[in-house]
Symmetry: C2
Subunit: 713 residues, 2 copies
């Protein structure tokens, strides 16, 4: 069923990209079925399966042809290490010298850009037959992308590991595919950044947007203005050597490193060191809260620009990327409003409002950046009639505002829809498109849309939890930005996502393993089973509600149940799908019945077991109402199932009682919410709607049940 | 039951150390029962519980009295971060200033040694009442030790987190308590070393023995002789800056860093760079195998000593520790035997054998080290009548040879019994004592026994698996070396070990979380349940058998089932204990019956489920015979249980058939072996021995069963 879906997609892609179409869809689908399912993410621009399979044995060898350099050889060595780790095979220590005997031949034409750049050619071809795999690419970066595809193609069965026969021609849809990591609010150690760079490379992302300064922390060493990092960072900053180490590490993987220095707002930590640059007298303290704060640089004084020239000049020399991000977001200008000098300046210059004042500031900064050889990029607040056209717009509002900027001639990238810190499911991010199907942009205008970036804002992530907030969902964003626009099958994305997620673990990512660890710690026990059951169907509250309902500071531990729980519950998705199948099977109600009963019984058992566990664990006290809710949800579901199985209609009193319990359970507690309520509501409503099945078709009946279940007061 | 055991221990300790004894054992035991169980490891020199409990709330604050420095403040900050993480509480950002309001008062007298040293005073007192905790120590290092005890005392229940009232007076039994990590055979990244230093500090170990050179790798940068690390390390070495970083990190935690440069054998990687220092002409290649190899430095040429003087002099300046380890082990002298020049030298100098030649070499090295201000330590092979008394002996043969050296006046440390790479259970290491109860050493001689070191030899560990080979078992070694000699209750050690193990996860240790990760990877599935069940009752083969039965090289991936499986199976220990209790309950056979039946049924189910899983996973092919064995073991156990439950004697034919199946299952496969065979043999033999219960007592019967079950052909 799912293989067929993927096959269909493959056919569309293959044909769409003018590659040789399979002779007939039928024979092609048969072939796909005969071989294994493909788990590529992002889906390549075009692919075509071939007969046969290439075995991976301990004699696996790689030959490098034409151009080769250390970056390519390191990339091959990393690929081999992962391949060996996954297959538990010991490969030859040296590269092959006999082309005909090599398992994989890698053929590059040239190094690619010395500094990874927006224009980098990332394309590659990969041709796998039962004899050999051949990877060719114009640049080393393209070859690195192809090596990731190679690893994703590896399959195994009782006979051994192999690659299916396949022909791939691949290149990205967008040239700018980024991940922002905010290290300002919470510092992240070097190894966190490195393993996330590895993960980015695995899904072909190519821009690490390093959000280095925030109200809550100034994270980069400045040799010219050392008070910035010494006073603004609690000692948690990256030395310039470390910055160079990250840049080199990213370059090895064909990833650009674009720094962000957020000004004129979001700058409290700068002003701790240099209060004289602020718009209010100070003194300033490192911010410990979350939210939008007032401190802003004073855009009316020449010393501010002298200071920024010194600092940004130093950073321009440190970071080789062509772009420098100046933030520019969320400056509400309250300090400006209250500063008579600033008000006088505006009056004298005829600057009519704060937005115009910030535009004045941005133009000054643009000149500084140009002097230091950098292109300016900023959040979309920087957009202003006076903004020169060579500034780049970073949209957090949406594709519409991005399109508007593009029509005015500005390059832009999209982050609206990719705010992974807001805990929305991958499916939601997956469908956000920088150039949506209804776009009215001309081809020339559309060229201004460079791509997008997932944004890992740092309020509520620690080194222990950040991976689980980024991965695996960001792989879906990566696919959106790399793959053809028509790759939008959510079910197939969710089929592939866990496979990719497990492969990310090979790179040291902790999104999976720290889940159990945090639960063990909370349960104060090795046997965290019931807690794991609860955690599997709850998610942190969405958007910015966490801080509202469970306030913490930047110094708070991020080790609560809300931190262990993850976005995008797979268990809930599976349950919802099974409930839908079960209700579609009306009036028989046999499909998935044992599965649903088993699941609900497990919840019931877990709900009961949680009480004593919570009694023993002080850290779980806030979970007690959730444990009670879990029991109530399970009981409502089990009772509904028993009505439906017996084809015995429930009463409206019973329904009302159950719905009331479910409404209570639906209220967030401890900044967590159940994500199975709607599914259980469906079961409850179905139980009372049973008699309707006599008068309407099962399909109509299911629709009626669903409508009622999803209607909220 | 177990609390009572611990209580008894506490009373012994308390009285033994001349602290005020509890008024009566009875009231004291009652008090222990009333409060919670203590999970301290190592057990302090003396402790006494007090009434009351000190609550840990979000107003938890620390005040520092008398002496304070950055090291102490950092230690307190680390303690607070872990306490916050465990309790999910946000504490005040600043240290307290009002002594009476502070939750914890830390009072130090002085900094302690500038460079952590053997003579460091590590003692502390900790007094916890319902009002306040007071930690006092002569040195900052003592305070750091006390802060670890403080964290281990934290308990929680539905009311909240707290510390039980307690008085502790603590100091180590031995001043040298080390962990050797061999980074020569497999390089370990900085973060692996750092998190292991954190774990060492958590269990009060104080020497990091950094085994930096091996046949398989030369891991430290030499600026004087850079070919050593550039040619001898595959690019995997520590820069001198990184060495300094590790030394500083260890010092922060009161841990010495003693380097080892293993000579004259184990030196292949040196000779890759400098073949002219070898005893055979070369050329040499970095060794990829495991075992004892022939290359050895040439001890007869002056250039060798000039070379070593330059290198060891450079290292003496880099490593501030007073001791330098020169290895000296496992040089079989085969290259010496074959080198005519060396033979001529020996003849000319009257050196009668290779041992004497190595003694000559060691004396030369000793002089070099003395010149550079270092004390020499080496493996016990260096012991020779000519060895000066200020050399230290590191014993891998056992306490007897150590005692012998002590009687001759040599200081020594023990590693025999602490070879954690050999996969023996913690209980075995736990009972190995540097000065065993039967020791005949005088008090003065015993003072030469400085302590011991657990040795993490690096043949079969990767960054992914090394933590699981070190922890939690090394915590038991740490207790042996710190706690009073009479702390030897294995059951109580195993009761506390999982608690300590979980706490180590707070420091980033991966011994627990990488287990599931490796199983997921092998299963190629999120649902690794059946594989986990199998892995829970198998262990890697012991001693040096792994390499014999499943040869690999240093370039092989360490991601097989043997790498995921861990030493010291808790499930097997639990099963054995339950089987014993069940058989002791003869002829009723009720005790633990449901538990045993459930466990055996789970094994049976897992055995069946493994087949299809193995069909899908190429990496699990070597596990297939184990899966079949698992089913056979489960069936033998279940059938035996059903005979016993029905009090229906089995036939000898049946028994022979089962024992044959178990003998087959007992054979190692994939370098793994079941550790539940003896327990299942007991059940099988019990089933056939049932009629004997008519003629002998249940106790005699159980002994008879046990004797037969443990007798091996």
């Amino acid at each position: 069923m799912k293989a067929a879906k993927y096959t269909a997609l493959v056919i569309i892609l293959t044909c769409a990209f003018n590659l040789p179409c399979p002779v007939s869809a039928h024979s092609f689908a048969d072939e796909m079925m005969a071989t294994s399912q493909l788990n590529l993410m992002p889906v390549p621009a075009s692919l075509q399966t071939q007969t046969g399979r290439l075995p991976i044995t301990s004699s696996f060898s790689v030959l490098v042809k034409n151009y080769a350099d250390d970056r390519l050889r390191s990339g091959i060595a990393r690929m081999l290490r992962r391949l060996a780790g996954r297959t538990v095979l010991t490969f030859p220590a040296e590269l092959a010298t006999d082309e005909s005997a090599a398992t994989l031949v890698v053929q590059c034409d040239r190094a690619g850009e010395a500094v990874p750049s927006l224009g980098e050619n990332e394309s590659y071809r990969l041709d796998v037959t039962d004899k050999q795999a051949r990877l060719s690419a114009p640049t080393v970066v393209g070859a690195l992308r192809g090596l990731e595809t190679f690893l994703q193609l590896v399959q195994g069965d009782r006979v051994g590991f192999y690659l299916p026969g396949i022909k791939i021609q691949d290149q990205p849809r967008f040239p700018w595919r980024g991940l922002l990591i905010d290290v300002g609010r919470h510092y992240e150690p070097m190894e966190v950044l490195k393993r996330n760079l590895d993960a980015m490379a695995a899904v072909k992302l190519n821009v690490f947007h390093w959000h280095l300064t925030e109200d809550q922390g100034f994270r980069v060493e400045s040799k010219r203005l050392p008070k910035l990092h010494t006073l603004g960072s609690d000692g948690l900053f990256y030395t310039q050597d470390q910055v160079r180490e990250i840049i080199a590490y990213a370059r090895e993987r064909g990833i650009r490193v674009m720094p962000e220095f957020d000004i004129p707002g979001h700058s409290t930590s700068w002003l701790v060191a240099y209060p004289e640059m602020g718009s209010a007298p100070g003194p300033y303290k490192i911010e410990r809260g979350a939210g939008i704060f007032e401190p802003a640089l004073d855009p009316t004084r020449e010393q501010t620009y002298k200071f920024l020239d010194a600092f940004l000049g130093e950073m321009a020399a440190l970071f080789p990327d062509a772009y420098m991000h100046i933030g520019g977001d969320e400056n509400e200008g309250k300090q400006w409003d209250r500063n008579p000098q600033i008000q006088a300046f505006m009056k004298a210059k005829g600057i009519k409002d704060n937005h115009a004042l910030q535009a004045y500031f941005n133009q000054r900064i643009l000149k500084i950046l140009q002097k230091h050889g950098k292109k300016m990029i900023g959040w979309e607040e920087i957009l202003h009639p006076d903004l020169p056209k060579d500034a780049v717009i970073h949209s957090w509002r949406g594709p519409a505002s991005l399109a508007e900027a593009a029509k005015k001639g500005y390059d832009g990238i999209l982050s609206a829809g990719y705010y992974i810190d807001l805990i929305f499911p991958a499916s939601q991010h997956y469908l956000a498109d920088p150039i949506p199907p209804n776009s009215t942009l001309t081809t020339a205008e559309a060229k201004h849309i460079l791509g997008g970036e997932a944004t890992m804002w740092g309020e509520w992530v620690s080194p222990e939890t950040i991976d689980s907030r980024i991965w695996p969902r960001t792989a879906a964003v990566a696919e959106r930005l790399w793959s053809p626009r028509n790759v939008t099958d959510i079910d197939d994305m969710y089929r592939r996502l866990p496979v990719i997620s497990r492969q990310l673990e090979e790179l040291g990512l902790t999104h999976e393993k720290n889940y159990d660890m945090l639960l063990r710690r909370l349960a104060a026990s090795e046997n965290s089973g019931p807690l794991r059951m609860l955690a599997s169907i709850i998610e942190p509250v969405k958007e910015y509600r966490r801080y509202q309902v469970r306030p913490q500071t930047m110094l708070s531990p991020l080790t609560g149940l809300v931190d262990a729980a993850r976005p995008d519950s797979e268990a809930a998705r599976q349950f919802a799908s099974n409930v839908d199948a079960f209700l579609s099977d009306a009036p028989r109600f046999a499909l998935y019945r044992p599965n649903l009963e088993h699941t609900l019984a497990e919840w019931q058992t877990a709900g009961r077991a949680l009480g004593p566990m919570i009694d023993r664990s002080a850290a779980l006290q806030e979970a007690r109402p959730l444990a009670n809710n879990l029991s109530a949800i399970a009981e409502a579901g089990l009772e509904a199932m028993s009505y439906l199985s017996a084809r015995d209609a429930a009463t409206t009193e019973w329904r009302n009682e159950q719905l009331a319990k479910l409404d209570e359970a639906a209220k967030p507690k401890a900044a967590l919410e159940f994500v199975v309520i709607t599914s259980v509501r469906k079961l409850v409503i179905a139980a009372v709607e049973l008699p309707q099945l006599r008068t309407i078709t099962p399909a109509e009946w299911k629709k009626r049940v669903t409508t009622q279940a999803t209607a909220r007061p």
